[in-house]
């Protein structure tokens, strides 16, 4: 077996990223928009799985880019743009989760009426909107703790290495690897359990 290919960005991408980062720091909108072309879709996809909400994912993606652009001077010379952008997006998503959690106090009577209406609802973490046919992958992701979900998606969907995740989340590489490993194990167990139950 050949050694595994190095993950993360390849050399061309790193070179492009450095060129763009340097140009962007001088608030060159055209150059920054090259970043938008490069990273918009992957970031939106990551946020879609993190939040499970397409509209929220789109809003957070826009907000993350605008925030990154307004703070581009704060990007350190040796810091890559992509992890920095994802950190901004992650912080925005966490803030949004906290904001929605505070709002999530509902009367029991209302809840019972809601549940009675459908019989068995899946309650979304945000606003009681229910989606009985939510796809299985999202259902399993929603059952992971936020910490594991973040790590899993950063590694397996966004393609960051464990060392990049460590820098991004401000934790040690060992802790990042532990999170990813535990998240994969939990994801696998839940996914196969749910998939088996559906087949029955």
């Amino acid at each position: 077996m050949n050694p595994p290919p190095r993950r993360g960005l390849d050399h061309d991408a790193i070179h492009t990223e450095r060129r763009l980062s340097t140009a962007s720091r001088s608030r060159d909108a055209d150059t920054f928009n090259e970043f938008v072309d490069q990273y918009y879709a992957p970031l939106r996809r990551y946020l879609l799985r993190l939040t499970g909400d397409p509209e929220l994912a789109a809003d957070l993606t826009q907000e993350a880019f605008l925030k990154a652009y307004s703070r581009i001077e704060q990007l350190a010379d040796d810091e890559a743009f992509r992890p920095w952008l994802y950190r901004i997006a992650l912080n925005l998503a966490r803030m949004e989760f906290r904001r929605r959690q505070r709002r999530r106090v509902l009367s029991l009577e209302w809840l019972i009426e809601s549940v009675r209406g459908i019989g068995h609802w899946l309650v979304r973490p945000d606003d009681m909107v229910t989606v009985p046919t939510r796809d299985l992958v999202q259902q399993v992701l929603d059952e992971l703790s936020p910490t594991l979900r973040e790590a899993l998606l950063l590694h397996r969907l966004a393609g960051f290495t464990s060392e990049e995740i460590a820098r991004l989340l401000n934790i040690s590489p060992e802790a990042a690897r532990k999170r990813v490993t535990r998240a994969v194990q939990r994801f696998q167990a839940l996914y196969h359990e749910r998939a088996g139950a559906r087949e029955e």
């Binding site: 595994p4 703070r71 001077e73 019989g119 899946l122 309650v123 992958v137 969907l157 060392e163 490993t181």
Partner: protein, 272 residues
């Protein structure tokens, strides 16, 4: 089954290309012959495929164009305000020094103490005074008399009351544990304060005529919590620990026994 001398975390470091040369060579050889590592690697790959295939890159051309137009329209957005923590720290340090260096027996010091106590009293009055609803204080909790209820000291499954707390004026928490390691928390509050919902999967069940929300544990048939309302009190039963069965978890039937017991005791107390 999963025993080998390369931890899952090290395998991940290898796949990420984060190992040094010697260790990388060792793990590369090991992975070829170790079925455990091969399974782990396959699980990592399968997880990646599941996520990627089920989440195609979105068709975002319109959104992206709007964003780019916004950036071009406003090429110099205002910089975010810098936090003024250093200045705040200096101010706090000066204040602290003044307080510490002030002569202990000076009349000014006594005056300062009175001012501080007065401010604290005003803040307490304005913040706490407005919050307290009308009612009598019962065990530190503001319920109306008719709502006062002390949950039983013992519940089914060998659960015994181990602690009781009133963390807020409208909240009582009763903590139960059994010798087998089951731990639950029964929370009471006025029904009008609502339920902070942290569960994604909910079903309605009945205990007699009481509608009870079953807050489901991810393990099928298990309970993460229960919530019901009775005589103006909102009850939440939260399963903190249930090391039962092969995988753990508190089954629905057993939890309903506990709920039934609490409801019966509550009804009896309310009719007295």
């Amino acid at each position: 089954m999963r025993e080998c001398d390369v931890a899952a975390e090290e395998l991940l470091a290898y796949l990420d290309g984060c190992l040094d040369g010697e260790r990388e060579a060792y793990v590369a050889h090991h992975v070829k012959v170790c079925p455990v590592c091969q399974i782990r690697q396959a699980e990592l790959e399968e997880t990646k495929q599941l996520l990627k295939v089920s989440t195609p890159l979105p068709n975002d051309e319109i959104e992206r164009s709007q964003l780019k137009a916004e950036i071009l329209r406003n090429p110099h957005p205002p910089l975010p305000r810098r936090r003024r923590r250093p200045l705040l720290m200096v101010v706090l340090a000066v204040l602290l020094s003044l307080i510490l260096l002030w002569p202990a027996d000076s009349s000014a010091n006594l005056q300062l103490g009175r001012v501080v106590r007065g401010v604290v009293a005003q803040v307490e009055k304005s913040l706490l005074g407005r919050r307290e609803p009308p009612g009598d204080r019962i065990s530190g909790v503001l319920f109306r008399d008719s709502q006062a209820f002390v949950p039983p000291a013992e519940l089914p499954l060998g659960l015994r009351l181990s602690d009781r707390a009133t963390p807020g004026p409208r909240r009582v928490e009763s903590h139960y544990r059994s010798e087998s390691g089951v731990e639950i928390l029964v929370v009471q509050g006025p029904a009008d304060q609502g339920l902070a919902l942290g569960w994604r999967d909910v079903e309605l069940v009945y205990v007699g005529d009481t509608e009870v929300l079953w807050l489901k544990d991810p393990r099928r048939g298990n309970v993460a919590g229960m919530a019901w309302e009775r005589h103006g009190i909102l009850f939440e039963l939260l399963v903190l620990n249930a090391p039962q069965g092969n995988e753990g978890g508190l089954p629905l039937e057993e939890t309903l026994l506990i709920v039934r017991h609490i409801i019966a005791a509550h009804d009896a107390a309310s009719s007295e």
